[in-house]
Subunit: 218 residues, 2 copies
Amino acid sequence: MSTPPTPQATAATRRPRGRPARSGLTAQQVREQLVRAGVALLTERGISATPLEDVVAATGLPKGSFYHHFGTKEAWVSEAIGAYGQYFERKLQRHFDDPTLPALQRLQSFVDDACAGMARYGFTRGCLVGNLGQEVNQLPEAQRQQLEAIFARWEDLLAQCLGEAVRAGDLNPAAELHTLAHAFWIGWEGAILRARLCRSTEPMTCFVTHYVAGLPRA
Amino acid sequence: MSTPPTPQATAATRRPRGRPARSGLTAQQVREQLVRAGVALLTERGISATPLEDVVAATGLPKGSFYHHFGTKEAWVSEAIGAYGQYFERKLQRHFDDPTLPALQRLQSFVDDACAGMARYGFTRGCLVGNLGQEVNQLPEAQRQQLEAIFARWEDLLAQCLGEAVRAGDLNPAAELHTLAHAFWIGWEGAILRARLCRSTEPMTCFVTHYVAGLPRA
C-alpha cells in the first residue's frame, strides 16, 4: 500500500520554522522526521528487523535526538502506529467519501490506489498494521490494542461505504455491513503479504474480485 | 494453525537409535530436533526475532551442533521451510482427500482443524509461510521462491478439492478452480494474522464464511 513520502524527501522540501537545532531543524521537525522514518521502516520490515541505528541513519539525525524525543523504542513505535493510522484513515476517507463514484467503485478506487502504491515502492512496503500484527507475540498489550482499534476504525469506514451501496440499491438491505467490512480487512492483509512475496499486485486484485463476488446483491 | 509438536515433547518420547552423541541423540535426531525447533520458533516469531541463541536454548543442544549440522542460519531456515511445507501438505491431503465428506465440507474440516490448532497454542503460532512472507524484504531469493512454491502446491490441492465439488454438482462447472484456490490462500494468511492479533478464531471463520459465499454455485 502507498505510504507517506520518505523522511529524506520531506526534509528536502521543507524549511525549518522556529528556533533551529544543530541539525537546522526545529524540535517539532526532528520529531516528525523520526516518526516518518518509523512509518517507512516499520512498513518495510516491522519492529524486530529495525534496529535504532537504522532509524537514525535514515534521518541523518544523531542518536541522542531519538532518546530526547521518545526515550524508548516502544514509545517511538506507538507514535509511528498512530501516525500511520491517521494517514491511512485520511486516505480511506478520500476514497470512501468520494461523491463522484458509486459506493462499490469507491472500494475499487482505494484498491487501485493501493496497487499503485505497492508498485511505486517496488513491493518493499506493506501495511504497517499488518507487519506489526505479525509480530504480535513481541508486542506490548497497549500496542496490540492500538492495532485492533485501527482495524475497527477501518471497518467502520468501509461499513459506511457499503451502507451507501445498500441505499443505492446495489447491495441487499439485509447485508451485515460490519461483518462484510470485517471480512474485507481480514483478507486484505493477506493480499498485501502475498503481493509483496510475489512482487505483483495480482493477489490484491484477485482477493478483491472474489470479495466483491461474495457481497449479497440487492 | 496447528504445528508439529515442540522439540522438547518429541525428545521426551523418543529413544535414541544408532550411535549416540554426547547429548545421547544420534546425529539424525539432533538434526531433526533443530529443524523442529525451527518450525516452532519461525511459526511463532519469524526469522528476525529468532536469534540462534534461542534455537539452541529451545533444544538444549550445544551451539556447536547447530553449526555442525547447518553451517548458517539461512540453511537452517530453508530446511525448516521445507519441513513445514511437507507437514502442512500432509495435513491438507488428510482433509481434502477425505472420501467421507462432501468436497466443500472438507475445506471446512481443514478450517476447523486450523482453528483448534490456533487455540491450542494460545494464538502464539501463526503460519510459518505467512510469517516469513512478511519478512520478504530480508529473505534470500531462493527462500522467497521456496515460499511461492509451497503456496502453489497448496493451491493445487485446494483446486483439486474444489474440482470434486464441481463434479458433485455443488459448484458451477465454469468455476475457475485455480483462481478460486488462489483467492483462498491469499485471504487465509490475513485471517491467521488477524486471529493472532485479536486472540480469537473468529477472523478465520469470518473469512471462510465470506469466501464460501463468493464461490460460484451450480
